[in-house]
């Protein structure tokens, strides 16, 4: 019981820190507004008002649905293709060594470079959005998974072998659980990049979606609309990312406990 109190206090402290952070960011935003004026910015509170208004307008939700259809598909493909590739590359040292530098080099190339290629291959509509999301998101998932699998402590695998586990059993019961925290980090980074990729792609060639709304607002130079859309996108990205961080902490916390138990 005595453990609960400090834990809760810490959590309250964290919430307080986040509120403080939001207030500070709001103040910086307000200061920018004082300098730049209505031409460039809307003040924070007014923007929240616009955002609420936008959410209740009829043309908003179909666009959200369009973005999430593309994002969801892209996530399925990124994770579905990225995890097995990473696991295989991580387990096979030769393939991993051959592929990793190429993957890392590709990872640091600006992905917009491939955007025209994707449009030429997939045309306009849902397909290029999904493809561009995948191009952005799949690499970190593969790279993190490969590294995580390649760096599972040999002693775990030896123990598994000593217990008579072979092949897929070894991978499934030992290697993947041991690598899970790092794999999840890769998935989190991958999901963020997939989201950014989907939005960017919608900005150039789409008929619906949040990115499409954003570029329309830019072309109409509607500052309140740009600001409130940006705010909504940021809030969404932050919430999803925070949720994934919480999952990550849970998983790695469990791993740490297991290790402590083993040590004891």
């Amino acid at each position: 019981m005595s453990m609960v109190a400090p834990h809760r206090r810490r959590r309250q402290g964290r919430a307080g820190d986040i509120v403080l952070l939001i207030i500070v960011l709001g103040l910086i935003w307000q200061a920018f507004y004082q300098v730049a004026g209505d031409v460039a910015l809307t003040p924070p509170l007014a923007t929240v008002g616009y955002a609420v208004g936008l959410m209740s307008s009829p043309d908003f939700w179909p666009n959200v649905r369009a973005t999430f259809a593309a994002f969801g598909l892209a996530v399925l493909i990124s994770v579905g293709a990225g995890l097995p590739t990473g696991v295989l590359l991580g387990l096979n040292k030769l393939a991993g060594d051959a592929a990793e530098p190429v993957l890392v080099a590709l990872y640091s190339v600006p992905k917009v470079v491939f955007y025209p290629v994707i449009l030429l291959c997939f045309g306009i509509g849902l397909a290029p959005e999904v493809a561009f999301g995948v191009v952005n998101g799949v690499l970190p998932i593969v790279i993190f998974t490969t590294n995580a699998m390649a760096h599972v402590k040999p002693i775990y695998l030896k123990t598994g072998r000593a217990f008579g586990l072979t092949g897929w059993q070894l991978v499934q019961t030992i290697a993947i659980p041991a690598a899970l925290p790092e794999i999840l980090t890769g998935v989190r980074v991958g999901l963020s990049l997939t989201f950014i990729g989907t939005l960017l792609s919608e900005m150039f060639a789409a008929r619906a979606g949040l990115g499409h709304m954003l570029i329309n607002a830019m072309q109409l130079n509607s500052v309140p609309r740009i600001m409130s859309l940006t705010l909504l996108i940021l809030v969404f990205a932050a919430i999803v990312n925070t949720a994934l961080i919480v999952v990550e902490h849970r998983v790695s916390g469990r791993g740490a406990e297991a290790q402590l138990d083993g040590a004891g």
Binding site: D97, V102, A105, V112, Y115, C121, V189, A237, N241
Partner: protein, 246 residues
């Protein structure tokens, strides 16, 4: 190394054959040899020099400023734990934020020139430098700090002779990320909206269905970015070896 070259060479060869046989239509992709020929022709005309200069000046400015600001900010934040606790959630979610959403805002604020894309690249890379600096400072062995105190070194001497060198491997990781992120920031911004730069030329070629120029530019960017990465990697390895860390 040989295997890697073989895999890469095989891939290029396969692409060449597929394009030449017409399995991949010319409208979608041109053969790699045609890309290379297009690139040579494009570089010969010299019309690209201005854009190359603009892009790499912007990248260099962004890298320089984000490394200097990032390392200093990292040291300040590390010194004040209260500030760090408040900023931690920001650092954790920062790279989930689509930073390009701010690009139109910066164009309105600074005008359609080099500054907005440098600002985007700076914002995109500075947090990576800060986070890696914090990581490095966290890992300075306590015994070295005690040693510095035993020798009665002042804060400045401790910082330059003990703390920074021992945090350096992490700071170098930050610099590497800053280079990659600045390239991404500048080229992507140019692709969205700019009046010059390689990214701008890319988007111009793409909008004009000028496939030869388009693929020549893609090839150029791939070669440039890979070369820069290799050079930075080699530089990192040399430094680490000199400090006897590997």
């Amino acid at each position: 190394m040989v295997l890697r070259a073989a895999v890469l060479g095989g891939g290029v060869l396969l692409l060449e054959i597929l394009c030449r046989l017409g399995v991949i239509p010319r409208f979608t992709m041109i053969p790699p040899t045609a890309m290379a020929a297009g690139l040579v022709a494009l570089l010969r005309t010299g019309s690209l020099n201005r854009d190359l200069f603009a892009t790499f000046t912007a990248v260099a400015t962004a890298v320089g400023s984000s490394v200097v600001v990032g390392v200093l900010a990292g040291m300040v934040v590390h010194a004040v734990p209260r500030v760090r606790r408040v900023l931690d959630p920001l650092f954790a979610t920062y790279y989930a934020i689509p930073i390009w959403a701010f690009y139109p805002l910066f164009i309105v604020l600074f005008g359609l020139n080099e500054i907005p894309k440098i600002v985007i690249a700076f914002l995109y890379s500075v947090v990576a430098v800060i986070v890696n600096t914090l990581n490095g400072l966290d890992r300075v062995p306590r015994v070295l700090l005690k040693m510095a105190r035993a020798y009665r070194m002042g804060p400045l001497a401790t910082g330059t002779t003990v703390v920074l060198p021992s945090a350096a491997p992490f700071i170098i990781t930050g610099v590497k990320l800053a280079i990659a992120y600045s390239l991404i920031g500048v080229i992507s911004s140019e692709f969205i909206l700019a009046s010059r730069g390689v990214g701008y030329r890319l988007s111009f070629a793409y909008l004009g269905f000028d496939n030869v120029t388009l693929y020549a530019l893609i090839l150029l960017l791939l070669v440039c970015v890979t070369t820069i990465n290799q050079v930075v990697y080699a530089w990192e390895q040399t430094l680490l070896r000199r400090w006897g860390r590997r």
